[in-house]
Amino acid sequence: MPEFFQFLVSGLTVGAVYALVALGFTLVYNASDVVNFAQGEFVMLGGMVTVFASAAGVPLPLAALIAVGVSIIVGLLLYWLAIAPARGASAVSLIIITIGASILLRGAAQIVFDKQFHKLPSFSGDTPLNIFGAAVQPQSFWVLGGAAVIVLLLHVFLERTLLGKAVLATAANRLAARLVGINTATIMALAFGGSAAIGAFAGILITPITLTSYDVGTLLALKGFAAAMLGGIGNPLGAVAGGLLLGLLEAFGAGYISSTYKDAFAFIVILAVLFAAPQGLFGRRSVERV
């Protein structure tokens, strides 16, 4: 039984990491239907900038703030220099641009920072807590809490504010959005900046657990993407549900089935879920009238 709880805890920890990354996809997707493959790079930036700033003697909270700021700037630059000029390009072309951006950002990070792995101290120490016989890193609570805060903020923003509706409207119908007076360029910039901030925030929270380096983005983006799709992309609640579920699948898969095939197990479950619910668990059901 303590094993079960340990698996549960480790699943939730990893799942919360995925959930945080998945949440980052939500804003850009909601404004543009584009899955931003450079999202993982924002997570990397969050971690790496914090590491280097605090190594340079900046106190940790300030370093974290700087990291978020840097990521937002990079997110806005990504929009202004790469996405906005490609106005009118198809979603696939935009996705390739984000792939290019992720290669570029990784290349830049490897020059600006280095190619080593780095860590951040846990926010509340490393003494594990004992819960039902399972050992929990205190940092896990930070990650879970961070995911909870962001999902709440995003949910309220998208569902309860006019600006949030404008974001959804921009994705739903760009032309109509312009016709009702929405400045779609600003909305997109907001989405990219916001996503970058979420990504950086995620990077700062998870680095004490996962460590970071210039190239952590790729796999995190991949897992985050899988989590977002499992939950139903565009829906912040879905992103969190998908992330936690993916983490649990991996942990229980590793614990009870086979650690080698845990990813396989996770993906088979994802395929099965999509088979039953083609829009993910909590995806917006698309209404297409003819």
Partner: protein, 234 residues
């Protein structure tokens, strides 16, 4: 109120508006008629700033607006109910209407929405449903309602009666008349040319990107050339 001088616009290499000049005076209803592909929709899109122009000038209330971004034109009071309805499918009917008033900051938004609901009671029944599930005509009502939510000074209507039941066509036409009474200027594109000219003050006839006739609506209605080309024989 609105002055268009020698407006040109093209899709790629194909020029669709070939130097169009027309004017709309404050408080008027002006009808634009023309056959499929004449360029009516293109003109309205150019006025709203969602279609690039290659030449000419657009002046609105004494201000050049042809270089303004679309949202700035909306802020100046130019709203459009576009061809093909272009509603926000995944949002609710209410949200669609609320977004129509996106740039408004006044307190009457909710009242105005109720007014729209009184105008189109079917929409009220569906107020919290996703707009994508509406029937074609209901979507058309929503598109018109959304444009009205923006408190237009100049309302651009691209085939507002399209897909509406005859009863509703009556209502829409009546509504346009009452809009004029409320001081709103309307530029109306309509395939139902006879009906449009009946309520309009003046009209323009467009053929392949050029204005070929213009004048008071009543004169156009009785013009034999217009009759044979757009009104049918009866």
């Amino acid at each position: 109120m609105l002055e268009i001088a020698n407006l040109r616009s093209a899709y790629g290499r194909i020029e669709v508006l070939k130097g169009m000049s027309l004017e709309v005076r404050a408080g008027e209803v002006v009808a634009l008629i023309g056959s499929n592909g004449a360029g009516k929709t293109t003109l309205l899109r150019a006025l709203s700033g969602v279609q690039p122009i290659t030449g000419g000038e657009i002046t609105f209330l004494g201000e050049r607006i042809d270089r303004l971004a679309s949202h700035r034109r909306v802020a100046r009071g130019i709203l459009q109910s576009p061809e093909g309805r272009q509603i926000f499918d995944p949002l609710s009917v209410e949200d669609n209407l609320r977004l129509g008033a996106y740039l408004r900051r006044d307190k009457e938004i909710d009242d105005d929405r109720e007014k729209i609901f009184r105008m189109f009671p079917t929409l009220e029944e569906k107020r919290s449903q996703l707009a994508g599930g509406l029937s074609g005509g209901q979507q058309q009502m929503l598109a018109i309602g959304r444009a009205l939510m923006g408190k237009p000074k100049l309302l651009l209507l691209d085939e507002p009666s399209l897909g509406l039941s005859p009863l509703l066509v009556d209502q829409i036409l009546a509504a346009i008349v009452s809009l004029r009474e409320a001081g709103i200027t309307v530029l109306l594109v309509e395939q139902n040319a006879a009906a449009a000219l009946e309520i309009a003050d003046r009209g323009y006839v467009i053929e392949t990107g050029r204005i070929v006739h213009s004048g008071p609506a009543s004169a156009l209605l009785s013009d034999p050339r217009v009759k044979s080309a757009y009104l049918g024989f009866d």
